[in-house]
Amino acid sequence: MTEPRWTLLRTVFRRSARAEVNDEIAFHVEMRAQELIAQGMDPDRARGMAAERFGPRQPVERELIDSTRRRRTRASRAEVLMQIARDARHAVRMLSRTPGFTAIAVLTIALGIGATTAIYSVVDAVLLRPLPFPGEERLVVPRTQRIGTDERWNVTYHDFLAWQRDSVFEAVALLQWAELDITGDCAGVGCDPERLDIAFLTSDFFRVLAVKPLIGRLPQPDEFSPGAPRTMVISHALWQRRFGGDPAVINSQIRMTGFPVTVIGVLPAGAEWPRGVNAWYPYRQGPSESTLAPDNHIYMGIARLRAGRSLGETREQLAMMARQVAEEHPAKRSGTTVTAQPIHEIAVAPQMRRALWVLLGAVAVVLLIACVNVANLMLARATAREREFSVRTAIGAGRWRLARQLLTESLVLALAGGVLGVALAVGLARALVRLAPPDVLSPATVVHLSVPTLLTAAAVTVLSALLFGLAPAVRASNARPAQALAATSGRTAGGRRQRRASAALVVAEVAMSLTLLAGAGLLAKSLMKLRDVDTGLDIRETLAFRIALPQGRFEGNQQVAAFWDEFMRRLRGIPGVTAASVTTALPLGGGGVYLGRTMIEAGAPEPPGGPEVDIMWTEVGTQYFEAAGQPILAGRPFEERDDTTASPKIIVTRAFAQTMFPGQPLSHAVGRQVFSWRDERVRREIVGVAGDVRLEGATDAPRPIVYVPQRQSPRLSGAVLVRGRGGAGELARAARRELAALDPGIALANVQTMEDALARSIAPLRFNAILFGAFAMLALLLASIGLYGVLSYAVARDTREIGVRMALGASPSGIRARVLARSVGLTAIGAIIGLAGALAFTRILGSLLFEVQPADPGTFALMTAVLFGVAALAGWIPARRATRIDPSLAMRAE
């Protein structure tokens, strides 16, 4: 517009549009009347004449009022926009005057927003987003459970029949994992035999999941009967990978481990249950006597809750039915019950679940620290500008004007930080999915940025910036200008109050960082312990892979045993190979199956009269202990003579011997007879005691294990261990060559070194420790920036005082010590609070730690020391600056 005067007058003396228009017209008519009177007309006539000459008044009036209103709205809108633009320009100018402050504030906001959003988005994708099944919240997995514990396992066909009979669920199905080789007959080039994870299903499986095929059809009920043609449904991933997404795969026959199967359907992408399964087979065999046993827990269940029946009610009914079974079969089922778990609890490993929540907690703390930091920065900045505000108040700027300026500055900061934060969140979320071990986070996980989280994080940071930025400004504008201008050296009540506020903020930051640091330290220590973990094995130069023999072609133990003998002979013949063997389950979580059994010593009273030992049952070939690098501590390893013609022999682990024969030397176990008293009841003689081993991964505690000679019960599938020099790749190629020469229809699958297996079992913890450590470092960095900011600011404020002291003869080292003491003092208070917080917080880490106590004094001490070190560093620069102050200049300062 024009000069400010016009705008000001217009806003102050603004009347309603109607009044203004009335005045304007009245003025005109009055002027005309006055002129007519001056010409000698009678006043009354003159007024009538004037009105007449003006013409009809009402339509004009209405038009003018409308026009005035339109103009006013438009003008005020334009004014607001211009004001915003002006404010924003001013804010950018003010912020660019302090580039250091601005960069730190923007980065802090970006880190807070970005990290929180990324982690929450991952949590959302992994833990909270339902599986892609309609009504997935009503899908449950029935499980057997040891009463009074969290130990759960699969269910029995026996119970499944009872659930169907009593209609416990809307629909329920069983499935059994298996591995089959797909051999040839594929559309692609170089179709090597491939090992597939498949599931055998009972007929209601797809009804439970309520899943529809992407193409083709699902199996009909009659395809679940003996003698029905073999059909299968395949996963989207397999369809794409092996058949190039060709719809012609439907109704085509493919060869699976020796027999043809017709593909009848493809499931939509992601609709895989259980995860990792590539093909679903109808169970064509009815249950046998053995599978019907009330303690044959080999089936995984899946069920849909009945409409109107809650999970709790269903659990009650399952428990009641389990009690009846336990009463009927006390030897087989006493001490166990049956429960149901929501499907998403099964889909995400509990360890992963806990890790993600802990990470989310850590990142929330980082956000909080970021907020405190921004608040602190704003507080320091606003305080430093108190004089500016006082001056502006003195020359007439309103409180609203100042508040608006600060608001704009905060918003400009927040906007810049927000944009950077979104970029950071996108990058971080992608990096998380890429860097996470596949067991932790499937590479296919689609992470969408969580917009509500983004907005919440942004709002929290902006609010804290505003709150602490506005308070000093408001006070500055409240104070009487003269007083405020006089009070420039920070000795006013306001200055002290702000100092106390910013000190409190720093203490809070220090406390929160120490809490995170302690957590990170514990995880790092766990990781170090895991790296040096004694696996009980020599895993160098050991290659493992899995193979399965086609069912139809190998009839009877004789043929199967002959295959294994020949394959082992060929493997041992590879140059550089020192041992080769086979097992049902690889140690260190390498994969495979083992049986849970309960053993007692022959001749001892049966429980509850006598003790029993829960064991893991695995079957191994000769040379197994050599190939695995597991020492034999007493007795002997298996030999060729331990075959079907010999009496049953076993080797047990040290944990077994010590549990079964407490207080005895290991050699005491050798020669003893034990048996699995609940089911098999075959007496087996212990011929050796092997060293303990971690069966399921590096974090697994050594458990009692029983090794049974494979030659006494040959199996169609197994994991092979080959120990030899020459490199894993060369060994694998040689093994593949030998297998192809022996039988080209068998796939060599899951090739890995035992070192890989160990690394993979450590990977989730490693991932946690690295992420958590990164967040803790971030927290420490933010806290040290906060400390540095507060101290620099304090030094700047005390320039005059320091000058006086130095003029009076204070030594530079004394001044330095004073500044440093302040830093250390604040850190000490924060550390005390932080240690208390850490004690509470690290307990949550619990199962994520490995052989480290949540309140590990060493870690706590180390992290506290790190914190003090950083605090001293953050205090050092301002302290040095303090001693560089020239007394004569300092006294004249301000």
Partner: protein, 115 residues
Amino acid sequence: MPRPTQLDLLQGTLDMLVLKTLSWGPAHGYSVARWIQELTEDVLNVGEGSLYPALHRLEERGWVESEWRRSENNRKAKFYRLTTAGRAQLRTESATWDLFAGAITKVLRSTGQPA
């Protein structure tokens, strides 16, 4: 608001006259009306009331702006003045008018029918 073309012409003319009077300096509506009456010797006989919608229209277009001030006889009056945009508009409109008027005059003064 559709209006007859006749009025559009009249309106445009009135707008031009208002802009011209304001080009001498700020004035309130009454003096604008007086000047137009004087200069045209009442030939155009502008209805005084219709002057105001024209003034407001011009203000909405940003060609004039207004403020309330004391008038010569010390009464509060709404004064209008030309903006830079208004001055430019006046130049355009007078040029157009000259062209238009010249053309019409030429036609009316001609003696013979064109071949």
